[in-house]
């Protein structure tokens, strides 16, 4: 069935976006209506992670470069947001090094989150100008070094970040629905970007860097744009995360977070938005199950529990198995496309990488 009206065409154009949003909405509604408060918290955390993973997709999916540094931008966004929303009194006690304006004022969390994302984006833009000149693998190592330098900077910068202790007193404003709407915004952003001329040019460089350069694509510039945009969303996710936990420690933004979010993207399929969403949903469930198993469950008379860190080990093994047996992820790097077409054409379209 070919859509005939202009509306039909538009629906078909943004079909992956519609189906992913509706799917996500269903997941949220179902979990919200059946789960208790703890489940609802896991849901919020999962949705915030989804924003991070979508942000990662914007860069990794389109550029083909692996970044190990994005959790650094999440941290920058998280702290930058907290600086704005915390009660001035608390700021005076914990982080007295802030500029006078921030010490005296606070912003609404939504504005603060957006500004937090912007600050992360600026950090990404500046560092990206250096990193993105490197070749693929060296750039990946560069992002890792960048991440470690942000991490060690924030760990020592105690008058702004409370250093090795926790920054407490952040208002808790991130509900599951807030996180959901940020997911939708991030998905729209990722979708629009990947279909824009910028996204197209960057993907051309992913497939063949030399040819893209020959065709006049400024590969470094395109990478920086994508790096910056992805850091914007990841930074906002950081802001949400701080306002979900109500406190921040630098250690939250370390290798485990990097690993979990990167696994979600890879398991779903690095090169498609659908992959980012599917991977996050599937692995979030797996993590919850393994965490439950770590706490122990009873099987008849005996209660069994897995040792600590089982969730992490399990996750690592899942990722390795996916890399070995299905390196293009669950979605095989394809988007969920318009299903109402003649059979032959459908296979053609669904194989198109996005």
């Amino acid at each position: 069935m070919e859509p005939k009206s202009p509306l039909g065409h538009m629906v078909r154009e943004v079909w992956p976006l519609i189906i992913l949003s509706v799917g996500l909405l269903l997941v949220v509604v179902v979990i919200q209506s059946f789960g208790d408060r703890i489940v609802s918290q896991s849901l919020t955390e999962g949705l915030i992670r989804l924003v991070v993973v979508i942000g990662l997709y914007i860069f990794i999916g389109n550029s083909g470069l692996i970044s190990f540094g994005h959790i650094g931008f999440m941290m920058i966004g998280a702290y930058a947001t907290a600086w704005q929303t915390m009660d001035p009194m608390t700021k005076d006690i914990f982080i007295p090094g802030l500029p006078a304006y921030l010490l005296a004022n606070s912003h609404h969390w939504l504005i603060a989150t957006i500004i937090g994302g912007l600050i992360a984006a600026i950090a990404a833009c500046i560092s990206g100008l250096a990193m993105m000149r490197l070749s693929g693998i060296a750039a990946s190592i560069g992002t890792f070094a960048l991440f470690m330098s942000f991490y060690s900077l924030y760990l020592q910068w105690s008058t702004w970040t409370a250093g090795q202790s926790s920054l407490v007193g952040i208002p808790v404003t991130t509900t599951p629905w807030v996180a959901f709407w940020f997911c939708i915004v991030a998905m729209i952003g990722a979708f629009v970007y990947s279909r824009s001329k910028f996204g197209l040019a960057l993907r051309a460089s992913r497939e063949d860097e030399v040819a893209a350069k020959a065709a006049g694509v400024n590969v470094t510039g395109e990478r920086v744009i994508s790096f910056t945009l992805s850091a914007f969303f990841v930074g906002m996710a950081g802001g949400l995360y701080g306002h979900f936990l109500g406190l921040l420690t630098v250690d939250t933004f370390y290798l485990p977070m990097t690993f979990i979010t990167l696994s979600m993207l890879v398991v779903g399929g690095m090169q498609s938005l659908s992959g980012a969403v599917v991977g996050t949903i599937v692995l979030s469930f797996v993590i919850e199950l393994l965490r439950k198993a770590e706490k122990g469950f009873s099987l008849g008379e005996t209660s069994i529990s897995l040792p600590a860190s089982s969730a992490e080990v399990g996750l690592g093994i899942i990722l390795l198995l996916i890399l070995i047996f299905r390196p293009s992820g669950f979605t095989r790097n394809s988007e969920i496309y318009w299903p109402f077409k003649p059979k032959v054409a459908v296979t053609e379209v669904t194989h198109r990488q996005s």
């Binding site: 692996i66 000149r133 490197l134 693998i137 330098s149 040792p307 860190s309 080990v313 890399l323 070995i324």
Partner: protein
């Protein structure tokens, strides 16, 4: 003069550790085009192998209590076996994958190793004292005293580098390894067994990791499941600024990173010293801006396509 010599020794000994770790990473990159994110965790495992596996806060020495002549081979064997297991279970199944996939694979492997260590030994750092008399000073010249350990680190590094160079240039398998690193397909067409060369490279990389674990743990006296990660990071940086795929570059880069760290440590005002690593990274980024291809150019630096 005495002060300069002291700083030089500090820089050389730190640079030695980085250079050894960078060599282990560079060797695998050469042959497998693999950036081994698990290399740091190989180092960590080598250090943890010294003690009895338990989650107790107090570490009890196991291999660490043996005579050095037994201890050293034991640790080397442990790390080499671990590296070979990694090759069989992870690297070999990913042999034909893209460099990016391989890199994520080794990242996952490192993460799994770290968490298995937490499972077995617990997540808290533990103190271990082995060969603590090595940290006693030796008088190099009147007024200049350096820990014996520094001299040992520099000495061991020099010896290992000479042995590695001799192996690569004077032995049949070394020449094969260099040929494979430059053009793997051609080497195979001439009859060089791919798996044998790779296993050999993995084993040597494991030996270098074991050497680093022992030197490092004697120096710090602390076991921490993340101890290898920061060493590995500096080693990565060393390979990148030295020039990917060049072993000479890895060594040069290692010593350069070590020297920069020590110079900053020595000459930064004390309140800025905690930000040393941030400055190191800033300098590295600057070097990369000026020379994106690294300090030492190599023919094998192109990624396998």
């Amino acid at each position: 003069m005495a002060f300069a010599l002291q700083v030089l020794m500090n820089a050389l000994s730190l640079g030695s550790l980085y250079a050894l770790a960078a060599l282990g990473i560079g060797l695998l990159f050469g042959v497998l085009k693999l950036i081994n994110f698990a290399h740091g965790d190989f180092i960590t495992v080598g250090a943890y192998a010294l003690i009895v596996p338990s989650a107790a806060t107090q570490a009890t020495l196991l291999i660490g209590d043996f005579h050095p002549l037994i201890l050293i081979p034991c640790i080397v064997v442990v790390v080499v076996i671990l590296a070979l297991i990694a090759e069989f279970l992870v690297f070999r199944p990913l042999r034909n994958a893209s460099p990016a996939t391989l890199m994520i694979g080794s990242f996952a492997l490192g993460f799994v190793i770290q968490n298995i260590l937490i499972m077995i030994y617990g997540g808290r750092p533990k103190a271990v004292g082995i060969w603590s008399d090595l940290s006693l000073g030796v008088e190099l010249m009147p007024g200049v005293e350096v820990p014996k350990l520094q001299l040992i680190i520099i000495g061991v590094t020099l010896v290992l580098m000479v042995v590695l160079v001799l192996f690569l240039t004077k032995t049949k398998y070394g020449v094969h390894m260099r040929a494979a690193a430059e053009d793997f397909r051609m080497a195979r067409m001439l009859g060089i067994e791919a798996n044998r060369v790779i296993m050999l490279a993995v084993a040597i990389s494991g030996m270098l990791a074991a050497a680093v674990s022992m030197l490092f743990v004697v120096q710090t006296g602390i076991l921490d499941f993340r101890m290898g990660v920061s060493l590995m990071l500096f080693a990565f940086i060393a390979t990148v600024i030295g020039g990917m795929g060049s072993l000479v570059g890895a060594v040069v880069g290692g010593f350069a990173v070590g020297a920069v760290s020590i110079l900053l440590q020595t000459f930064l005002p004390s309140e800025m010293r905690v930000f040393r690593d941030v400055f190191v990274f800033a300098i590295v980024i600057f070097i990369l801006l000026v020379r994106p291809q690294g300090l030492v150019m190599s023919r094998a630096s192109r990624e396998r396509v």
